[in-house]
Symmetry: C2
Subunit: 204 residues, 2 copies
């Protein structure tokens, strides 16, 4: 499959370009050069152009890129055309924070349900908080592919195993444990404390 030839980081940057294009579109800008778009995304112009070549040719020499058209192509390339249903597991401090967070929905992800060992901490929100016992069945019947994992590190591997067994293929992991998962399952880690630690290293 050709997709595998694309550097992983290039895919991240595609999302970045997409964000900038959305803003340009909102400002009624119809055409943009690689220089301008790259600046907005915080990369070099050549890198932007190279990234785009992994997917095709979208620009007009001498002119630049059509904002609308390029945006559409990126959406298509990223596979964010249709809505992706998602579940969240672990409604603790961080988990309930994430449930309140509007940013997911804005980019086309809908959290269908949350799961917790103690679903009594239920939300005044439209998102139902269900007991862990119902998770497997939920994933199976709704054909959920992606999960946000915000349980404590002590149980995160165990829960990840359940998720995988139920058919989850992508996990956004907020625990500080590096999950061991079989091939074919993708894990993205977000470790907030680590980001701060990293910052503190680079200031001075």
């Amino acid at each position: 499959m050709v997709k595998l030839a694309i550097p992983r980081k290039a895919v991240y940057r595609l999302s970045l370009y997409q964000r900038s294009l959305q803003r340009l579109k909102a400002n009624k800008v119809s055409t943009v050069s690689s220089a301008a778009l790259a600046k907005a995304a915080g990369v070099k112009p050549t890198q932007l152009r190279k990234d785009l070549t992994y997917f095709g040719q979208f620009g007009t020499r001498g002119l630049g890129y059509d904002v609308e058209a390029l945006s559409n192509k990126l959406v298509e390339a990223l596979g964010t055309t249709r809505l992706q249903p998602v579940i969240l597991v672990g409604v603790g401090n961080l988990g309930s924070a994430l449930l309140h967070y509007q940013g997911f929905a804005k980019e086309g992800f809908e959290i269908l349900a949350a799961f917790d060992i103690e679903p009594g901490k239920k939300h005044h929100f439209d998102i139902p908080v269900l007991p862990m016992g119902r998770m497997r069945e939920f994933i199976r019947t709704k054909k959920i592919k992606m999960a946000v994992l915000s349980v404590p590190g002590t149980v995160s591997q165990e829960v990840a195993n359940e998720l995988v067994a139920a058919g989850i293929q992508g996990i956004l992991n907020f625990s500080t444990i590096i999950l061991q998962v079989p091939d074919g399952v993708v894990v993205n880690n977000v470790d907030l404390a680590m980001e701060l630690e990293n910052l503190s290293y680079f200031i001075r």
Copy 2:
């Protein structure tokens, strides 16, 4: 400065190793091989060993690493020995979520104060939520170096400028805008929706 010779990603991994070491320490394990530690951190043994050489020699050939000693060395290398005071700007959905999040404190970061245009949304917490007008002075007098930025994208650049002007050197940016900052200021971006988008690309 020698520090600049160290790959940026190696510093991230150092935090990862540190995490695994803490767990080993908690389990009263006193010695660990590069193979075992690398597995826990999700990297290859050679990479772990190479990463460590950027900072010095810590192991004993034929034996492995002393958990306690290596952990101490990493803490020192990462500069997380003393507590780092931090401020948070933008107490919206995500911001207030982050205020509740215990993970920062656990890794030695203390959020001294939060700032918001509408500090009336004040917290029942020990962390005071102050008006933006008092931010600059606060940063200056308390000599704060790091800030968590969770304001809406529409104002994030503007607020970042203020932070930098006041003396902030490291920003953990949760807005979806790539910040333009002068040399010497470090920005780490956390974009949750983008992480999901990225996952969704790789599943299938």
